[in-house]
Assembly symmetry: C2
Homo-oligomer: 431 residues x 2
């Protein structure tokens, strides 16, 4: 399979020099970028299977959503503005207790529809019934990093075995799926349980994904219990020695930031979720300053309440500016990099998130003459990230395949998914 995208107004490569290519082309063979440049006339296109002409469009690497619980789209708008514990204990957990495997399948597809249509080409998911999530990923054409969330009290050793089995099984089933072991958090997993998980991570070479220091309450609890901050507690038991993606990292001290940097941990910055749940503002400027790989995450749709990564990126940037009362913080280029290659690095994925020869062909095309906010055209990237939203995404290519073509899905039936998700969400309330 070969695919040529030609006449692209601007290609934002998102490489380390932030190189842009005017009137460019991208040539894809199978699942990789084979050639990229500014004049496709030199290319012999006789044997190209498919050609896209992208006049009036810009190309970026697909967005990477580093942290979500996709099936929670079923709970979008179900419970807002509540204190965290009330929200969890009285609203979310009782509903989740009633979720069936098929609910998770259809809820995940609803979330994937929304993510693809907003330019996401890779997401990292921690939930349960993860085999269903994997099915939804395979069907949709998406790329994903998947792991079964492990809460010691409810999952125990049995859950750990299942999580390992899931991780091993699905590592080789699809080249679009990679797997992780996902202990939920240091406050829901004991050191012994975490050590078992770390041991398996090492033995089978599986990376880790974990929530860390999301709330001040967690920070205080861990500090009181172990006499160490959550990050230092996890260092003490050897977790950071494994490739890890840590979600949230809102409450950190200076030493914590040094630890995350030293061990090359990836961090998922979930600005809107942290705002909506009142968790706090993560020290992202400081983390980046110490060289930590930071990506962006939406978290679940019941604490966000959408999976729009453009809006997430904008808010992520503005939140750092206001935190530091400094408009130069987390600028446009750095934000765009976090949304793409930075996210891939935070998830420890190789050859992804940059438009570059031999990198994976995850590419989005954006129409720059579609909305009123596209005018005037002083800066197309600014118009996209500081003024645009999900409606600007035109075409989405993942692993060399077109999955959304000018708004039309090639592997999914939106009407059917909306109907099923609606019915299942409604039934959940009746259970």
């Amino acid at each position: 399979m070969s695919l040529l995208i030609k006449n692209i107004s601007e290609i934002y490569t998102m490489d380390k020099d932030f190189r842009k290519i005017q009137n460019g082309f991208i040539y894809i063979e199978n699942n990789k970028i084979k050639n990229i440049g500014s004049d496709h006339a030199e290319l012999n296109t006789d044997n190209t299977d498919h050609i896209i002409s992208a006049e009036g469009k810009i190309a970026l690497p697909g967005f990477v959503n580093c942290h979500t619980h996709t099936a929670m789209t079923l709970m979008r708008g179900y419970a807002d503005d509540l204190p965290l514990q009330t929200w969890l204990e009285e609203k979310i957990w009782p509903l989740e207790a009633n979720l069936s495997a098929k609910d998770v399948y259809w809820g995940t597809l609803l979330g994937i529809l929304e993510m693809i249509s907003s330019g996401v080409t890779t997401f990292c998911d921690m939930y349960f019934f993860m085999d269903q999530v994997a099915e939804a990923v395979k069907k949709s054409g998406m790329r994903a990093v998947l792991g079964i969330g492990l809460i010691e009290e409810q999952d125990g050793e049995k859950g750990l075995n299942e999580a390992l089995e899931f991780a091993l099984n699905h590592q080789s089933q699809s080249e679009r799926i990679s797997t992780v072991l996902s202990p939920h958090a240091p406050y829901t997993c004991s050191p012994a349980y975490l050590c078992d998980i770390i041991g398996l991570s090492k033995e089978y070479n599986i990376p880790l994904n974990i929530h860390v220091s999301e709330t001040k309450k967690e920070y205080d609890y861990i500090k009181k219990k172990y006499n160490r901050t959550p990050v230092q507690h996890l260092e003490n038991i050897g977790l950071w020695e494994r490739p890890t993606t840590a979600a949230h990292c809102v409450h950190l001290d200076e030493k914590d930031i040094g630890i995350l940097s030293k061990y090359e941990a990836g961090v998922s910055y979930n600005a809107q979720s942290n705002m909506k749940l009142g968790s706090g503002i993560a020290p992202i400027t400081e983390l980046i300053g110490e060289g930590v790989n930071v990506g962006l995450g939406t978290d679940g749709a019941s604490s966000n309440n959408n999976l729009d990564m453009i809006e997430e990126a904008r808010t992520a940037s503005y939140l750092q500016k206001v935190k530091h009362e400094d408009p130069t913080k987390l600028n446009l280029e750095k934000t765009a990099q976090m949304l793409t290659g930075g996210g891939a690095m935070a998830l420890h994925l190789q050859n992804l998130g940059i438009l570059k020869k031999n990198y994976l062909a995850d590419i989005i095309l954006i129409d720059i003459n579609k909305e009123f906010t596209d005018y005037p055209h002083h800066n197309n990237l600014s118009n996209l990230l500081y003024a645009g939203n999900r409606n600007k995404i035109d075409t989405v290519i993942i692993n060399g395949n077109i999955v959304m073509d000018q708004g039309d899905f090639l592997f999914l039936e939106p009407d059917r998914i909306l109907k099923e998700a609606e019915m299942r969400a409604s039934n959940l309330l009746k259970k």
Copy 2:
């Protein structure tokens, strides 16, 4: 002229009890709501000029944008991520110095296109060439509160006379335009100049609109110069005795909040602009607690960078939650009220912003089955404000007239406006 909107799925009246009407109707005669209820069958519709059937749609009062400089859409994306003074002195002011009257006209039309399409039915504007802004407002069908911005050093007494003349002339020209006197800020207008403006405001019964305490720098400067905070300085010279809308109010002490409450000042909370420019987080929760009328504003498109009030409302809410580390702060209902009737009250406009008999007919219809984020339908208002964006707005009615009908503009030609605005923005850079 009479207009009936029937079969509305849900009407959010935004009255003080937050009353919702299921399967309702709104009947409009001329520019006012004459009847509203839950069953239109009783109405004699034989003589109704126009009927809209609104199945699958919800109705809200139109949104009120309490603070913007609309023509600055021409500078969208032109200068981002810069320190405030560099941004103003090296980028914005030099460009503004070259703006012609016609640039302001077309830039304002571009902003009005964007605002109408995102559900805004009233905006408050402080800029220059305001007669051009008034022309754009008249042409578009919009409602607006307009005043010429006055900076003492550049405008002086001559500018003040022009501002007064503008305010008096345009008060009676259109029932959709009301006028204000707009001293720019306490740091750009001396007490003597402000006193002149306050005197004219009293003599001619014209309300005031002013920037107050936007940055810590301004706060410190005024405090040093007058030994009072900006709000207390303005109290001292009698400004708050006049009906005033104060934009920003980021840096306030407890006494300031008491003053704004005592004098019934309106406040425009401009969350995204305050974030992007790194100004700080306004004490909105505290202002509301003291009964101050707070509305929402986008500020200009070069510090936002769009005029999408849905996104503004969401960020405004989430920002208060994260500031207080409390997810119950600025909840959905309160946020919706600030977006509509609260905004009207902050602008001192009567009979506006609530769907109620004899109130002005500024109404928006929203399609609740349009986007993936509309699913599931646990809470349509939450899906609109916490998950939606401008693309959800279907139909916009201002002063009893349909100005946008299912996305189509009745009084404006989008293609012509986009072309003119693009050309003028591009030429500005060459001057």
